[in-house]
Symmetry: C2
Subunit: 196 residues, 2 copies
DNA sequence: GAAATTATATAAATCGCACTACAGAAAAGG
DNA sequence: CCTTTTCTGTAGTGCGATTTATATAATTTC
């Protein structure tokens, strides 16, 4: 019952990678089916047979992004010896990701759906929940830093997690506006002042 | 030769204000003509007779925004006694504006056109040039602060102007995600750490 | 008052875009 | 081989959104 019927003539995984790149550089609504099918090298019927709909394809692309590019910043968070080092590494990773975008820079999870039509609102909420989760991870790392003595007990970890979340959003916006690596890296030092 | 023909049955200035609010809360592409004509209380032909096209209406709405809501942050920049006070006032004003958005929060100049179709790219560039100008104003204020002894000569005003620009973009993104006034105001203190 | 000019309303044209019949092709199962 | 199943390519369909004919109404100018 497994391999019945005509086999698919393209590599679905590679096609999904290409879809992810298009969504990443243009956002959900900015990516039109022409762009998607052209990037994947397939025709519309093949697209729909393989991915169901534009929205379903976007969700899959987001999952893939979270598992690849998106994981860098979170991994960096866990690796630093101190909370400060972890946050710094997270920002560095975030900059790498933002500059690694195919054409226009920035993070798919931040820029993928911002000013969308009402019918796209569920996708926006989905991305928002992922961002909220990231913020919780930052908060947890800061709390650990307090527990381990890296940071004073007087700080408000919630606020600072929110702050670094905002900084990463700012980084994405600037990357989308064409900022260079030097431009973005220069933002790290002033951002870290909040933890000193 | 002035007032020939049937007079307009609505107040163009007030209609433009309403258009501005729709563009502000939904962005250029998120705002559809239905929303615009409904908000202005006019029919499509009247809209086109008065404003020319959706794009032209957006540009006028942006001009109006720059002259009203958008001017607050820049005015605040000039009023502080020290550079630090000016930046703090700018952020406070920016938060006020972001929360003053009709429905979903944030700044029209930051959120109005981000992930747009290629045909909307000129509008995105237009907003970007306004943002660049804001950044120059911030830089000028910081340079003045250095000249007046508020800030040490060792700082890089360009980088810090870029940083506060990114912070304001982050504030807009968080406002769009539903942040409260307390949430946004809490971001000011960590942001100001870069100038201490 | 008649002519010229400009706005309004209804209604539709135009057009881009997500999505899909339909017929043909390539495999597995019998 | 014949049937069944699933994919592919061409060529559209349908829908929504921006934009415009066309006729009519309200003013100014002569």
């Amino acid at each position: 019952m497994a391999n019945r019927g005509r086999p698919r003539s393209f590599d679905r995984d590679r096609a999904l990678q290409n879809l992810k790149e298009v969504f990443w550089s243009k956002g959900y609504e900015g990516a039109q089916l022409n762009d998607l099918t052209a990037a994947a090298g397939i025709t519309p019927p093949s697209f729909y047979a393989a991915f169901g709909s534009k929205e379903a394809a976007f969700r899959e692309a987001v999952d893939l992004y979270v598992a690849t590019e998106g994981s860098g910043a979170l991994l960096a968070l866990e690796e630093g010896a101190t909370a400060q080092a972890s946050i710094r590494a997270m920002l560095a990773s975030s900059i790498d990701t933002a500059l690694g975008a195919p054409q226009s820079g920035g993070c798919l999870l931040i820029l993928g759906a911002i000013n969308c039509r009402s019918e796209t609102e569920p996708l926006r909420q989905h991305l928002k929940s992922i961002r909220t989760n990231t913020e919780k991870r930052i908060n947890a790392r800061l709390e650990r830093g307090v527990a381990e003595g890296d940071l004073p007990r007087t700080i408000d970890t919630r606020v600072l997690a929110n702050f670094y979340s905002a900084v990463m959003q700012g980084i994405s916006m600037q990357a989308r506006d064409g900022a260079t690596r030097e431009d973005l890296q220069a933002l790290v030092t002033p951002s870290m002042a909040a933890l000193s």
